[in-house]
């Protein structure tokens, strides 16, 4: 019974995700022309309308803010852990480079989009090493405290991803939390690379999860080939 329900659910979402690619193009123009407060269905990003309206496909409330030209502020799904006022700190010059951390994170991400658990594990181990050898002495005291918290947590997730080559679902659980950490790290210390914060509304029983990507094109690391193009760009980092 449980599997039956699960397959039915997957079937529905796969179909809806396939539709998405076709329909977003037509919807894009509508979105531009509409009023400036648009929200989309968390399950069907192509269905948009005013806040409080119901999705025409599944009846869920439209809760996802839609980006229109300027980056979406994403108030409903961002955690309290992501302060916006701190964003200026990202541009502060510091001796610390996040490049290697981000590069290894992206390697994990790209392996997961390909359902490559072994590749993710290798990259996870590299990220773990990077965190261990990172030298935070160039940071200010305030930055350092937050960096230590972030790195301490992220390191553990990297280690778990590295240790679970056979369990891609478990790797993805850790990847979801790791992505939040990396997002906060970029907010704190910046990045030399142009990056995108993407959002998958379905992951974790519909609670949703974010990931960081170097490309604008959506490649979902939480579901891989099952629904690769599912998700949306939330903002540019």
């Amino acid at each position: 019974m449980k599997t039956l329900f699960l397959t039915a659910f997957l079937a529905i979402t796969i179909v809806s995700c396939n539709n998405k690619a076709k329909e977003t193009e037509t919807n894009a123009t509508e979105t531009q022309a509409g009023s400036n407060e648009l929200f989309a269905c968390p399950m069907h990003p192509e269905v948009t309308g005013k806040k409080g309206e119901k999705c025409s496909k599944c009846g869920m409330e439209l809760t996802e803010p839609v980006a229109q030209g300027q980056p979406a502020h994403d108030s409903t799904h961002d955690d309290a852990a992501q302060p916006t006022a701190d964003e200026t700190a990202a541009n502060a010059t510091s001796a610390f480079s996040t490049d290697e951390i981000i590069a290894n994170y992206l390697k994990i991400k790209n392996a997961l989009t390909k359902d490559d658990a072994n590749g993710a594990a290798t990259a996870g181990k590299e990220l773990y090493k990077t965190f261990n050898s990172a030298d935070a002495s160039g940071l200010t005291a305030a930055q350092k405290k937050e960096y230590t918290d972030i790195a301490g947590d992220a390191k553990e997730h990297a280690e778990h991803i590295g240790d679970n080559a056979g369990k891609i679902a478990h790797q993805r659980e850790h990847f979801a939390i790791l992505s939040k950490d990396i997002n906060d790290l970029i907010k704190l210390l910046g990045s030399n690379k142009k990056l995108y914060q993407d959002h998958c509304p379905m992951y974790d029983d519909g609670k949703g999860a974010i990931w960081i990507s170097e490309t604008k094109e959506i490649k979902n690391p939480f579901y891989g080939s099952k629904m690769l193009t599912c998700g949306s760009v939330k903002k540019t980092l």
Partner: protein, 156 residues
């Protein structure tokens, strides 16, 4: 042939006796400070507290309630390495000293591990039958963990 077998048997028996003498330090700290304890800092209700203590604390705290066969080698080595690993991952006695970020992330992981039946380990519940979490208890636990997750988020 028979004599050879007997020899091997005796040799194995002697090894078994010999390894009994290797008894690593027990995971027991009678003077444990509970100010940073998970169940204390979160003010866990008694049913949840009992459940977590029975099912998790043997490997995820500084005090293990050993059973008689836990003292017998080679079970002893196996048990001790599990406890070491378990405590490294998550020590409920020290939970309060974790950074907020780490606490949140641990809560997330605890919920996931219980939900997917990864924890408690089957190798542990095989002999510790009282540590098995049934479906009703599982729901209670997950609901409670989710509730404290939100609490600490709003505190920020």
């Amino acid at each position: 042939m028979k004599r050879k077998l007997k020899k091997v048997g005796i040799a194995l028996f002697l090894v078994l006796i010999a390894i009994q003498f290797y008894q690593p330090a027990l995971n027991q700290n009678p003077g444990q400070d509970y100010t940073n304890d998970f169940l204390i800092t979160t003010n866990a209700p008694s049913n949840i507290s009992k459940l977590i203590k029975t099912s998790c604390y043997d490997c995820h705290s500084n005090n293990t309630e050993y059973l008689w066969y836990d003292y017998v080698q080679p079970a002893r080595m196996f048990v001790e390495s599990h406890i070491k690993e378990g405590k490294e991952e998550l020590n409920f006695n020290e939970f309060g000293s974790y950074s907020n970020r780490k606490q949140q992330s641990k809560l997330e992981a605890i919920g996931k591990q219980i939900k997917s039946d990864e924890m408690p380990l089957t190798s542990y519940t095989l002999l510790h039958r009282d540590a098995i979490i049934n479906e009703v208890q599982k729901q209670e636990l997950i609901t409670w963990i989710n509730s404290i997750k939100q609490n600490s988020l709003s505190e920020k």
